[in-house]
Amino acid sequence: MSNTEKITPYPKAIDKVEFIYGIADSSLILAQRLSELTGHGPTLETDMALTNIALDLFGQVRSYYQYAAKLIGDNKTEDDLAFFRTEREFKNVLLVEIPNKDFAYVIGKQFLYDQFHYLLLRELQKSEDVTIAAIARKSIKETAYHKEFSSNWIKRLGDGTEESHKRMQTAIDDLWKYSDEFFYPTAADKKMLEEGVGVNLEELRKEYRSNIAEVLEEATLEIPELEYFQKGGKDGRHTEHMGHLLSEMQYMQRTYPGMEW
């Protein structure tokens, strides 16, 4: 079988590739979750909005993966990285793989991610790697719209009806434990920071917390108090949901390797 060769893990040697996975995989998995809502959004407008956000993220991810594939060489393509890596090779944060459950969860995940994503991109624009800086400069314009969209919905649901408030608070309470993983640097993150390519993630935590608190307060939602946060996704240790997500996302290429449409 020729495709077993393709499934072989990629060389771990390239720190920059691992660093890129750390950024792009989270956007990919979130976009995959969002695309589950296409045709199922609670209203036509939110359906289109969430689908468009997914599309923006997929587009950004393509730019990162094309660059990572170039760094790996060996005729690797963006599709190899999306469809032929195994669960442990994905370096996304746990937050984005959590199932959609209800609209409050969709918005809650989006909000917690967008707020971080925006700060990350703002810093990445200063990266000494010109390609990464260019992708960040392009992406931040789109992510600014995403952030506004999800923050507005947090306020609308939180400060809405009794039911919407209750559901939004439940989602925030449940998702909160995944809201700190962003700021733990992996070995690749540290290496890239040293080289002027990466971002000092730990320095972004305070600003993130205060931006989040501002929106939640306006939404009349309570900020959960928690001492222990979940992490592991950035090191390839995922929740039980990840395997299911990947099997659906990768099904076509795993079944018909190299298929095009």
Binding site: M48, I53, Q60, A133
Partner: protein, 167 residues
């Protein structure tokens, strides 16, 4: 060389060829959308740099293909490259492009400050293409594609797309 309002320089011989290529989703030339960043002719090789509007715009690959086809049919040897730096902005849409957008029924992007006010619902600014009223409001920040927002006219009831400002 033809120099556009957005300061892009395009080889005289390539200009009519590229001008005839439209964005597949909107009948506006890619030149007027500001998507052509450079077009030079070296010997018979047409070196063209194009840029996507939004990262995920599904039309991007299609446009690169259309550009290649058009150049080949005009007898050139095309080398088409996609670039993202500096990132595309609605400021690069030419006056002719804005007119073409509105003729197609999409309200062209206004300046950044007015754009924010219109999207935030602070001010009624955008003009309904059907009746001319500015008594309009946003329905959804994301329209049928990522680059558009959906509005409606509060006077005549007409829904319309607005091409969002991206700067």
């Amino acid at each position: 060389m033809v120099v556009l309002e957005n300061k892009v320089e395009i080889d005289k011989k390539l200009f009519p060829v590229l001008k005839a290529v439209n964005d597949p989703e909107i009948p506006v030339s890619i030149i007027d959308m500001g998507m052509v960043r450079e077009a030079v002719l070296e010997e018979n090789i047409a070196k063209v740099k194009i840029t996507p509007t939004y990262s995920g715009c599904p039309a991007t690959d299609m446009i690169a293909f259309d550009v290649k086809m058009a150049l080949e049919q005009a007898g050139f040897n095309p080398e088409v490259e996609s670039v993202i730096d500096p990132p595309w902005t609605t400021d690069w849409i030419t006056e002719e492009g804005k007119k073409a957008l509105e003729k197609f029924g999409i309200v062209a992007p206004v300046d950044a400050t007015s754009d924010k006010k219109a999207l935030m619902g602070e001010k009624h600014i955008l003009k309904c293409l059907n009746c001319g009223s500015t008594h309009t409001e946003m329905v959804s920040q994301f329209g049928s594609t990522a680059c558009k927002a959906q509005f409606r006219c509060l006077d005549c009831g007409e829904p319309f797309d607005y091409f969002k400002c991206l700067i």
